[in-house]
């Protein structure tokens, strides 16, 4: 078992936000800003080490207890649920999961709707709950292209500003849910490292709340 508490961050935007949050909490984050190809990053003066991973891997590492905590988008947790504790909503990385399509699609009631998405599970769940039969067309990127090319009727995707949709003549037809970064923890680690982890969770939550109030 690793000695220091280990926090896994989602590379990219969530990483930047988390590093900022840790810095505001008074941690020395120099090494995070310049990792120099190192994969395990030790925070000087605080019993914490950081690893950087892709979002879905963050959840997997935490599930197996290789990392004790993780910062990951709610979209990832919903698409691939894992048995972890989801202890805090950090507020940043805020966006919406939405159904979007060409304006005409909104009027056409269809027996079988073709839905393109990077989130097949979320998409299927959403439409099934409404009693709409769907054919899910799984995509890896550029989901907006699918309805333009006639591959699908609508898409289910993350929307931040809505600019990409607008530029392609698509409109938001329905909001499914709000997404933001979540702090997840391993079920056993949380019990065996309670004091350290609660201190870290409280610290991150407090900073996130303050940031939320300002923003």
């Amino acid at each position: 078992m690793h000695g220091k508490t280990r926090l896994a961050l989602t590379k990219g935007r969530l990483e930047k936000d988390t590093v900022q949050l840790l810095e505001k909490s008074g941690l020395n984050t120099d090494i995070l800003k310049n990792p120099k190809r190192k994969l395990i990053l030790d925070i000087p003066g605080y019993p914490l080490e950081i690893i950087l991973l892709k979002g879905s891997d963050v959840a997997t590492y935490v599930e197996h207890g290789v990392a004790d905590l993780g910062v990951v988008g709610k979209d990832i947790l919903l698409e691939n649920p894992k048995p972890v504790y989801e202890v805090a909503d950090l507020g940043f990385g805020a966006c919406r999961m939405a159904v979007a399509g060409p304006p005409a699609a909104a009027e056409n009631g269809k027996k079988l709707l073709r839905v393109a998405s990077k989130y097949p599970w979320i998409a299927r769940n959403h439409f099934e709950a409404k009693g709409q039969s769907v054919e899910i067309i799984e995509q890896q990127g550029s989901v907006e292209l699918a309805p333009l090319m006639g591959l699908s009727d609508v898409i289910v995707d993350i929307v931040e500003t809505g600019n990409t949709l607008k530029a392609n003549g698509l409109i938001i037809m329905e909001e499914i849910l709000k997404i933001s970064a979540r702090l997840i923890v391993n079920k056993v680690s949380y019990k065996t490292r309670r004091v350290e982890m609660n201190a870290l969770i409280d610290m991150m939550e407090k900073q996130a709340a303050e940031k939320g109030d300002l923003g």
Binding site: E63, A88, K191
Partner: protein, 403 residues
């Protein structure tokens, strides 16, 4: 299609030599401890009717089971749980035994359950069930048996955390929520999702004092003393007090026995199995991020089979236990002395006595099937053979040096 004959379906695995040795050692030791505590082994079939597991208050989710259609059209499942079949056996076949009835098992279970098995869909459980003891004596007995079983294998840093179903259900009753909201909040509690619980408390207008406890529940875990003294500062109903008293008494009995140091409490513990009714518990070690042990009281289950009988029990996830013991480097199967008989000189009927003599004390003794000295040498190295011998004409055994 061509590939399929080479590979395994998802979630199952072959066990090679060392894995099998280890598994046998671990399961034998567990069974030995169960037997020493007075539990008797029984075994249920792998195939059962689907209905057995899906009618409430059983495992609700039929999606997580492997189903088969019987020749007459009935739906069968591969045993997704051991406790329900045990309850069925007791209620239908063992009513007239002397009680309390103590039973145990080691079986494969088949289901999709991430908490106990990650990706595995076939895994082994070793467990005990105690029928006919309604008092906390039964809960303490089961806990002590579970802890002793794990300790007998040398598992270190064990923590067993207790919760109480009645504490939670009494609290939720006092919240007067609709069933759907209740289930939603229970799910959030299971995730220890404080933000989500806060939101739900606001949406459903839960009274301030009760909301304070609800929001705190996800963090109400730790040593028994800490948790029991903290929870007292909240407004509790009589039923909640009663559940806490039961927890306290159970813990005191385990402490008196001398195993109190590994106990904890998690009042926010939500059990995925719907049949639990009283004290529940989960066991783990800091060296492995997974649940190794789970169990609890299920007083209503036998009623489903027409028998009024209280029950409590636990199951150890053998795969997880094995993994933890390996990580702690605490499990070793002692190597037996391995003897290879190179050849026997002509003597009708005398070989058996010599072989029997060599096997004394549990040695492995086998006849050499190889001719080429190089191949014999390689075999000896790779199979870790300790001695090469010849049985002579007079029946005596001669050691041979292969060098």
């Amino acid at each position: 299609m061509e590939k399929r004959k080479m590979f395994l379906p998802q979630g199952v695995q072959d066990l090679l030599i060392d894995d099998c040795l280890l598994r046998r050692k671990i399961e034998d030791q567990l069974m030995e401890t169960f037997n020493q505590w007075g539990y008797m082994e029984i075994s249920s079939p792998t195939l059962e009717y689907y209905d057995l597991f899906t009618e409430p208050p059983m495992l609700a989710d039929g999606d997580n089971m492997f189903k088969m259609i019987d020749t007459n059209g009935k739906i069968l499942v591969m045993r997704p749980d051991c406790t329900i079949p045990m309850a069925r056996i007791v209620a239908t076949k063992m009513k007239n035994f002397v009680y309390p009835l103590k039973l145990c098992y080691v079986e494969n279970v088949y289901r999709i359950d991430r908490e106990q098995s990650d990706q595995k869909r076939e895994f082994r459980q070793a467990g005990v069930e105690l029928f006919g003891v309604s008092s906390v004596k039964g809960d303490a007995e089961i806990l002590v048996t579970a802890i002793e079983s794990l300790k007998s294998l040398g598992l270190e840093n064990l923590t067993v955390e207790l919760g109480h179903m009645n504490f939670l259900s009494a609290f939720f009753e006092s919240l007067e929520l609709e069933e759907e909201a209740k289930q939603q909040i229970l799910r959030l509690l299971e995730e220890k999702n404080i933000t989500g619980i806060q939101e739900m408390a606001e949406i459903h207008g839960i009274q301030k004092e009760k909301a304070r406890l609800l929001v705190r529940l996800p963090r109400m875990f730790g040593t028994p003393q800490e948790v029991l003294s903290e929870v007292k500062t909240y407004l509790l109903t009589e039923d909640m007090e009663e559940a806490l008293e039961e927890l306290k008494q159970t813990i005191e009995m385990v402490e008196e026995y001398g195993l109190g140091e590994c106990l904890g409490i998690d009042l926010g513990m939500v059990s995925q199995l719907e049949y639990y009714t009283g004290v529940t518990f989960k066991g783990f070690t800091k060296d492995l991020g997974a649940i190794i042990l789970s169990g609890g009281r299920y007083d209503k289950l036998l009623g489903k089979f027409g028998m009024d009988c209280t029950a409590t029990g636990f199951a150890i996830v053998v795969n997880k236990l094995t993994k933890a013991l390996k990580i702690q480097n605490n499990i070793h199967v002692p190597k037996r002395k391995h003897i290879l008989i190179l050849d026997t000189q002509y003597n009708i009927g005398a070989v058996k006595d010599a072989v029997d003599e060599l096997r004394e004390g549990g040695n492995i003794v086998e006849f050499c099937m190889l001719e080429d000295p190089d191949k014999i040498r390689e075999y000896m190295v790779r199979r870790q053979v300790d001695e090469l011998v010849r049985i002579k004409q007079d029946g005596n055994i001669e050691k041979i040096d292969m060098e």
